[in-house]
């Protein structure tokens, strides 16, 4: 169904989705599913819950696609929607922490769900194995989505300095693996 859209870049897909082409948006879903899922799992959300939130986030994003400006980062926008969706869910369950503290990427617990640990352990030789979900998201946003540290910090709910520091440490860690 989405075979014709595989060669299109994200901006072209977004423009088609703005015209109401659901298949173009479905291609965007396929491309960014992992990022949204890891992003939510990085907050300690279980995979099944993360999938529900991801589903709602994508449907909301399609509803609001006209509001998205292509000058910004689509993934950053998507993650903000997912984050709001997650906060709404927590509010409903009365679990939302209202202190408003920023996320400290340096002190993230390794709260990988059992499913995620299986995924990571299955690829031991992979460079990415053993990375925390937020580290995977950070790497994706910086290297693959080419977002600025300011945009990343906004998307992850952290500070720009924190995002930069964690990214540099991550690169050093990966470089060590790569050399060995």
């Amino acid at each position: 169904m989405t075979n014709n859209y595989e060669n299109l870049d994200s901006n072209e897909l977004i423009e088609l989705a703005k015209k109401g082409q659901k298949q173009a948006f479905a291609m965007l879903v396929k491309r960014h599913y992992g990022t949204v899922m890891y992003y939510l799992m990085g907050f300690g959300v279980k995979k099944s819950d993360a999938e529900d939130i991801t589903q709602e986030a994508f449907i909301n994003a399609f509803r609001k696609i006209d509001q998205f400006k292509t000058s910004g980062s689509f993934v950053g926008w998507l993650l903000r929607i997912a984050r709001n969706q997650h906060i709404d869910k927590l509010r409903k369950e009365r679990k939302f922490d209202t202190t408003g503290n920023e996320l400290d990427l340096l002190n993230l617990p390794d709260d990988r769900t059992p499913e995620l640990q299986v995924i990571s352990d299955a690829a031991v030789d992979d460079l990415y194995s053993g990375l925390k979900p937020q580290e995977k998201v950070l790497l994706d946003l910086r290297v693959f989505q080419q977002m600025s540290f300011a945009e990343i910090a906004e998307a992850l709910g952290s500070s720009e300095g924190n995002a930069r520091l964690v990214f540099h440490r991550l690169i050093v860690k990966l470089r060590g693996k790569f050399r060995s």
Partner: protein, 161 residues
């Protein structure tokens, strides 16, 4: 080049434009930076670390049905908006036409009542002004006699008595 500058190379290499010529020249002499650039090149070819999670067919079908619902909702909302807009334009047009008719009617009423007043204005008649004769004043003897005071002269026969 100190460590701080090596960190800048990482920043530069991950920017949209990639590492510039200065950074590449430095990387040739710095094994750390060379390894970083090689690592980033490898990462880019092996793909994002988030792509190992793929959506299931069930997930995609749930999202696609959700998209269909939201598309139909958007279409309904669009049609409703168009109807509301048409209704608002209709009401505005009717109100404008009605207001125009009423204001024209008022104007013509004012014009009709103003015309007799101007026609009934008393104007000085030069012919009347020059005339000393009361007979020319337009009042005929016997007409409205009761309304005018009349001089009572003694009759000539009264002196004889």
């Amino acid at each position: 080049m100190p460590d701080k500058d090596c960190e800048k190379i990482i920043d530069l290499a991950t920017e949209k434009n990639g590492a510039d010529t200065t950074a590449q020249a430095h990387a040739r002499t710095c094994p750390k930076c060379a390894a970083t650039l090689a690592l980033l090149a490898l990462l880019k070819t092996s793909g994002s670390p988030t792509t190992d999670l793929k959506p299931s067919a069930a997930f995609l079908s749930r999202v696609e049905s959700g998209l269909a619902i939201s598309a139909s909702e958007a279409a309904t909302a669009g049609a409703l908006k168009a109807k509301i807009l048409a209704a608002v334009i209709g009401v505005a047009l009717t109100a404008t036409v009605a207001w125009t008719i009423v204001s024209h009617a008022k104007k013509s009423d004012t014009h009709n009542t103003a015309t007799p007043a101007t026609q009934g204005e008393m104007r000085a008649n030069p012919a009347d002004a020059n005339s000393e004769s009361t007979t020319n004043s337009g009042i005929k003897p016997g007409e409205n006699a009761g309304t005018f005071p009349q001089l009572q002269f003694p009759a000539p026969t009264d002196e004889i008595k």
